[in-house]
């Protein structure tokens, strides 16, 4: 039954005029986010925002807690995502044509060069940021229970990030790309160094299989390019996005960021400015919590010094996002992404260098392909993943360089880490290695005794000393992590600045000559 004076036409007209406000209200049910309460419902009603909790501890907001490094990584990823999609408009993944299309992007497409530069720089920023972020999570002992799993996810993010950079490096199909990937693919094949020595390559050719799956052929060609392209624009970004969602969600479910036991007292002064939690909204969503069994992170912890995530956390995040964007754009203005000559499978680039963060690896690969390219990296990667399960101590969680030994131990580890890597390198550069002294020495001995493995052994010995001295696994982890970080820096710098044609040692690239 309709009312007497009902006019459908009139109703239609009113609805038409009300469309904007109705759409707005359908999208944001809680009303405009203007009070703490509506802002809260704004956060948990939004699929993206509710990866955050509604309130954030003041400790987490301190600059010194995170240095914003996780957000820098996220921001750099978003920037590569946007610029990468733009580059895909013109890029064609086929040998030689790929090179031409990058050239078009660089020289003809409007803003093409700029986008390419930003993409390249953001990728570099992301690699640096993810390494620093990992170091910060490590040094603040934030990986401990209940955050072991999130460290593990982060580990996956690190590997995926490096994979993205490596696969992207091939796409321009220039000399730099071609030879870096040739070397990379042969590193995948290097288990042959072991299977050959044991004489079982015919039956069990793990190395050959890895290389073949990666390249889809027996050399770096069209198949390899398509595979790397697929990994770079599809498989790895999707993996990364999924892992990131889990990573963020887990932070929330693990009770926010790690903090020292007395964090509440330490932020008490700052907390005075804010309303404490639970005053404005006594009707918490308590019902769901009642059905959950077991001990979640929030059990046993009373109200803490938290502030609403909106605006406090969001402004901080936006600030870091803008800063990262600024840095990437600035770098893109200053420096162009490189593009060498078209790939030539007959003449290697000399020196042929991988992306800079792999040059430390390339340095130890120049002693033994298998140990440098697979053995030692695997050891590092597995060791990194296991840290939270080996160090189950409590002391120092959430504290910079927390745990037995502390900053003093880290300082000494830095001395050991830098000194031993520089000494071992200097020795190998000056005096050569086993093959130069005993030309007939079996390869297997060189595989296991070379500057890379010697350095690893020194680091391991030092960490065992640290474990015993402080009677703590955490102390050993602090020593080992710091040593490897220092070794990584030294080797990367040597590989980048002090290696020239024929991978010979040069004091400066200006001495390379003739190129």
């Amino acid at each position: 039954m309709q009312a007497e004076n009902y006019s459908a036409l009139h109703e239609f007209w009113t609805n038409l005029r009300a469309i904007p406000s109705h759409v707005y209200r359908a999208m944001f049910r809680g009303g405009p986010p203007k009070t703490d309460r509506t802002r809260s419902s704004f956060i948990f009603g939004n699929v993206f925002l509710h990866l955050h909790s509604v309130r954030t501890h003041l400790w987490s907001l301190r600059w010194s807690t995170t240095m914003g490094l996780g957000i820098v990584t996220t921001a750099a990823f978003l920037i590569t995502l946007v610029t990468g999609i733009l580059l895909m408009f013109y890029y064609k993944p086929y040998p030689d044509i790929a090179y031409q299309s990058i050239k078009d992007i660089h020289f003809i497409v409007p803003t093409g060069r700029f986008m390419r530069n930003i993409h390249r720089w953001a990728a570099n920023v992301m690699v640096v940021a993810v390494i620093l972020h990992m170091a910060r999570a490590f040094y603040t002992a934030s990986y401990r229970k209940p955050r072991e799993f999130n460290w593990f996810i982060g580990w996956g993010l690190l590997v995926t990030t490096l994979g993205l950079s490596f696969t992207g490096y091939l796409l321009p199909w220039d000399q730099l790309a071609y030879w870096a990937i040739t070397i990379g693919a042969n590193i995948a094949q290097s288990p042959r160094e072991i299977t050959d020595a044991m004489g079982i390559t015919q039956w069990m050719d793990i190395g050959g299989l890895q290389r073949e799956i990666l390249l889809g052929s027996d050399k770096v060609g069209e198949e390899a390019l398509i595979r790397f392209y697929l990994l770079h624009v599809m498989i790895l970004p999707l993996t990364l996005a999924m892992l990131m969602a889990v990573h963020f969600w887990r932070i929330r479910k693990d009770g926010g960021l790690a903090k020292p036991k007395d964090a509440d007292e330490r932020v008490a002064e700052e907390a005075k400015e804010f309303y404490p939690v639970f005053t404005d909204s006594p009707a918490k969503t308590y019902h769901l919590a009642a059905v959950v069994k077991g001990k979640t992170s929030a059990v046993d912890s009373g109200p803490e010094h938290t502030v609403p995530s909106m605006p406090h956390l969001f402004y901080a995040e936006l600030g870091v996002l803008m800063l990262t964007t600024l840095i990437c754009i600035g770098l893109a203005f200053i420096s162009d992404a490189p593009l060498k000559e078209l790939a030539n499978p007959l003449v290697p680039e000399n020196p042929a260098k991988a992306p800079w963060y792999f040059l430390g690896l390339q340095e130890i690969v120049s002693f033994s392909a298998f140990m440098g390219g697979i053995g030692i990296p695997m050891l590092c990667v597995i060791g990194l993943g296991l840290i939270p399960f080996l160090d189950r101590e409590k002391e120092g969680t959430g504290e910079w360089f927390g745990g037995p030994g502390g900053w003093k131990l880290v300082k000494w580890s830095m001395v050991v880490g830098f000194a031993s890597s520089i000494l071992v390198e200097a020795f190998a550069i000056k005096f050569g290695w086993l093959r130069e002294w005993f030309p007939d020495i079996p390869q297997l001995i060189i595989t296991f005794v070379n500057p890379g493995t010697v350095l690893t052994a020194i680091y391991a010995a030092f960490s065992i000393w640290a474990v015993r001295k402080y009677n703590s696994t955490r102390a050993g982890a602090l020593a080992l992590f710091t040593c490897f970080l220092c070794g990584f820096i030294v080797l990367t710098v040597i590989g980048t600045y002090f290696r020239g044609p024929n991978w010979d040692f040069f004091w400066s690239p200006s001495d390379w000559g003739g190129h």
């Binding site: 040739t182 042969n186 889809g216 052929s217 069994k293 499978p345």
Partner: protein, 159 residues
């Protein structure tokens, strides 16, 4: 979740599934089997059956003027062909370390990538290369030399 006798149960903790729920287990089992099988099947795809690379066997004619002991590089190939008093032979120029292309030098061959050095007969002189450069199979018919990149021969075999 195990329940102990006497423990109060709520409607959120129903009885555990009966162990011998045949249908349930069969369904689960077949699902797992299908899943594993399909993963296995999918993994077969990326491993190419034949690789799309050019023929590995090729003919070259060595210029008459080639001095003894000097390398002749057939265009587009990663092979060095030599001729001396004992005959013709071919050595691969793909570094056994990580696959860069070595350059002939007075000492033999040098690799630009990580500094491996080889003597004139391909033996490792210095650097990280784990193996000598392989000698490739060469056959002669008249003045044309056929090199087969897929077949290696013992170092020192000249025809």
């Amino acid at each position: 979740m195990t329940t102990h006798p006497g423990e109060k149960k709520s409607r959120f903790d129903p009885d555990p599934m009966p162990r011998r729920d045949f249908l349930g287990l069969a369904a689960l089992g077949s699902m797992m089997a299908a899943f594993l099988l399909s993963i296995f099947g999918m993994l077969k795809l990326p491993k190419a059956a034949v690789s799309a690379s050019p023929a590995k066997k090729f003919n070259v004619s060595i210029p008459d003027t080639l001095p003894e002991g000097e390398a002749f590089i057939p265009p587009g190939r990663n092979v060095a062909v030599f001729r001396d008093a004992e005959g013709v032979f071919a050595i691969s120029t793909v570094c056994t370390h990580l696959g860069c292309i070595v350059k002939a030098s007075p000492a033999g061959f040098d690799c630009p990538c990580h500094g491996s050095g080889f003597t004139k007969d391909g033996t490792v002189r210095k650097g990280p290369a784990p193996k000598p450069l392989p000698w490739l199979k060469v056959s002669l018919s008249g003045s044309t030399v056929t090199v087969d990149e897929e077949k290696t021969v013992k170092a020192g075999t000249k025809v």
